[in-house]
Symmetry: D3
């Protein structure tokens, strides 16, 4: 199995609902350093997993929908705790939609799976892994 | 599959038995930067894998039993080579016990698995992965 | 010249005033990984720059006044752009006050200077350096 | 499942064939920071996955065949795009050959699998994973 | 003294002249992860060292003149060893020209100095520091 | 001013004397990731600060005198707290001796200064800086 990973980041505000979150129930924020990993069983005709330029570009577009925003005010997240692990899934699913629509190139339809990891600090990170 | 990872560290002394270890047969030491990864198939009612505060706290307690010690003198390791990979399992198994006892919260009983990685330097690390 | 550095972090929300900031004029947030560096010309009687436990503890207290907050609502920052470099100074000056008050130990009065670095992402960071 | 990873690096020149590569069709180069991960189900008689000295030494030998070279002129890569993911496989397969030949020790024959990751920058990396 | 740093990278081919360079006399290559640090004594009217968007953009333009190239064929480097430390100066001087021309904004004329660091691997890097 | 830095590491056991050290008074250990930075005002005839191969080799030799040892039993450290900052000086001074003896090459006699940084974990490090 092969994979390639590209890294980018977002800077957002949000708050959490539930006693388990303690002081993180207050409005605060985070830089999420985002790693998107694309997997496939065999390389394509160019000897690559996916065009790294397209992968970086599509990741930047998906992140652009979240970046520099207060997630508490985004309709997509109404009533939802935007935990690091939940956001990892949102980003992975949006990337998967773009793979299926052909935005990562025709060859990308041969991808087997996708993992998105969000680093919220030097001591904590979260991932969501799915098939394609 | 979702995961969250928390990072902490220990500073210990130890020595190894066996010619394969060369100069590491002498009493020496290591800083192990420890990453504990918790996995589950679906998020809990709070939209998280596990409470990150409880996870960090329980990891700190497990590491507190090893930190600032000479492992050669710990009864738990009598006659055992405390290699990086062997210590990864010790820490993973002790965390698993705490998950099963409820110390990471009732929701943590829904965890699927656990991986512990110990970084012994910038050029070497080891992991142990298990189910829960 | 000797130095020691300790690392911690905060997660805050804020927004900026001024066209130069573009989309960062919207309410967003950041994780700041904070490095506090303490310098002195000669080591103290214990052969150290400063007690690393006290240094870490005082840094944590200074950061605790900022952590999990919306800086736009903090009276201390009214009318001020809380840029990464400006926050580096705030933290450095608050640590300096604690050095001068004896909170880092009597020996810490021999410190020559202090630098605080805030990493806002994997591709940007800022520092403020001062004497003591 | 246990694993250990060792890190080393190479500095090579190469170019790519195919419009998808854009400016990377020109002769350029890369530092690849290379992580080789060895996996096994149970530890050996010394309580390790594999002798870390042998693992590092064999990785260095495999990398020595590529280091400080223009890959466009290497017969082994004639007509082949030496993408990061393709090179990950080359290195993994050459390490696997050495495991099978006994160069990592007799105990290494009990290894279950191998992953090689090449970091081409702070924002992109690729892996190849195989069984042994 | 305040500073901000932005990070980017280039991937180039080159070779060295001189026995001291050993195998690096062959055509090879490198990824240089490039950190550009801008320093000033007091913050500007926006409470910043320099507009981070302009700083990143100008660094990207300077690096664009070097990226994906064989430096041995660049007229600017004829007869010159393009060592990591020498390239750090080239990039610093080109950034300084842009500061002086106003490309980093009028406020950037108040900058006191500049440091450029090039990381050639996880175990080696080089810097050049200058005034402005 | 130019600089180059090379990285290596040691794994040692030791203990501290003095109440300020708390549990670190027990025999424990550390991995120190060691960065040695060499500075000079102008580059030498080869357009470098110092031969990176010689610098790495001499750093490895200096570290070899400390590696895989219990520093409490080393005559050189009798009655001395081998704090991270104190060890940074020991290593810097031993490297300076080698520079002066010509072990880093004749050109290295033109070096202006030296800094040694020891990282004891992901959240703490110490440096010693001196002239040559």
């Amino acid at each position: 199995m092969y994979s390639i990973t590209v890294r980018d980041h977002i800077m957002i505000a949000h708050s959490f609902h539930g006693e388990v979150f303690g002081p993180a129930q207050r409005l605060h924020g985070a830089t999420f350093v985002v790693d998107a990993t694309f997997r496939r069983v065999e390389l394509d005709a160019d000897n690559i997993v996916v065009d790294i330029g397209l992968a970086s570009g599509q990741l930047a577009e998906v992140l652009g929908e979240l970046n520099y925003r207060n997630l508490d005010e985004e309709p997509a997240f109404a009533g939802v705790n935007t935990s690091t692990e939940a956001l990892a899934r949102v980003i992975a699913d949006r990337l998967a939609d773009r793979v299926h629509s052909g935005a990562l190139g025709e060859g990308a339809r041969g991808l087997a799976g996708l993992t998105v990891t969000l680093h919220e600090s030097h001591i904590a990170w979260a991932s969501y892994e799915r098939t394609l």
